[in-house]
Amino acid sequence: MKTSVREVRGVSILDLKGKITIGSGDVQLRETINKLVEDGKKNILINMKEVTTIDSSGIGELVGCYTSVTNKGGKLKLLHLPPKISDVLTVTQLITVFDVYEAEPEAVTSYGG
C-alpha cells in the first residue's frame, strides 16, 4: 500500500493506494494514523478511492484507527468508498459507525473548519 497525506483547510487527507490486507498495508495504515494523531491532527479523512482490496485485518485496522482518533477527541471519516469495501463494512454493521462522503469538498466542510 502507498500512503500520502495532504492538508486541506485544516483537514488531513490520507490518500491510500493498493491493498490493506494482512501483512501488507494493515500495520502501515495504523502507523500512519498514529503519527497524525501524535502530531496533534484531529480532523482526519481517509480517501479510499484507490484501495483495491481489503480483508478482515484491514477492516480491523480501520476500526482501530477510528477508535484511537475518536479517543483523542478527533474525527476520522471516510471518502470515496469503493462499492465492495462498502459491502464489507455493511455486512459487519460498521458502515453506520463511519461518516462516509462521496465528494471531497463536502467531506472537508463537514469538519466544520
Binding site: T21, I22, G23, D55, V63, V88, T92, Q93
Partner: protein, 149 residues
Amino acid sequence: MSASKPPADAGPVRMSLSSRFENIEMAQHLCGKLLEGREVSEETKHWILMALREALANAIKHGNEQDLDKRVHVEMRVDQNTLEVRIRDEGSGFDPERVSDPLAPENRLKTSGRGIFYMKTFMDDVRFGRHEGGGMEIVLTKHLNASRE
C-alpha cells in the same frame, strides 16, 4: 479459443504453501484460474476469493503461527458447478463454537474477529474439522450458478 472450457470436473487441484501472508495470492490466483470459464460472475468470484483469503490468513496466522516449517494445504475442485476449497494448517486447532460474534454490540468495534464471519457471509457453507494429519481443516463451499446476486 483462448480460454478453453474446462471439463465438468478436472479432478482436485492440490497445493501447499509455506506460512507467509505473501503466499495468499498464489492460492487466490489458482482458484481464480479454476473458476475461469465457469458460470460465475466477477462479483461472486471476488467474494469467493475474499473468503479464501480469510481462511488462508487464519491458517497462516492462528494455525501455523507463521512458522515457516509449517505449511498450509489447499485442495480445490469444481464438481457439478459446486466449488469446494479445503484449507488445512499444521496448527493445534480451535473450537469454532467458541468464536465470538462480531456483530454483538460489545464486539462491533474490536480490531479483529471478523474473518470467519466474512467466510460464512460470502460462501454457501463453511465447515470446520480436524484433519487426520493434524491441524484444522476448513471446507468452503459455493454453488456457482445459483449465486449470481
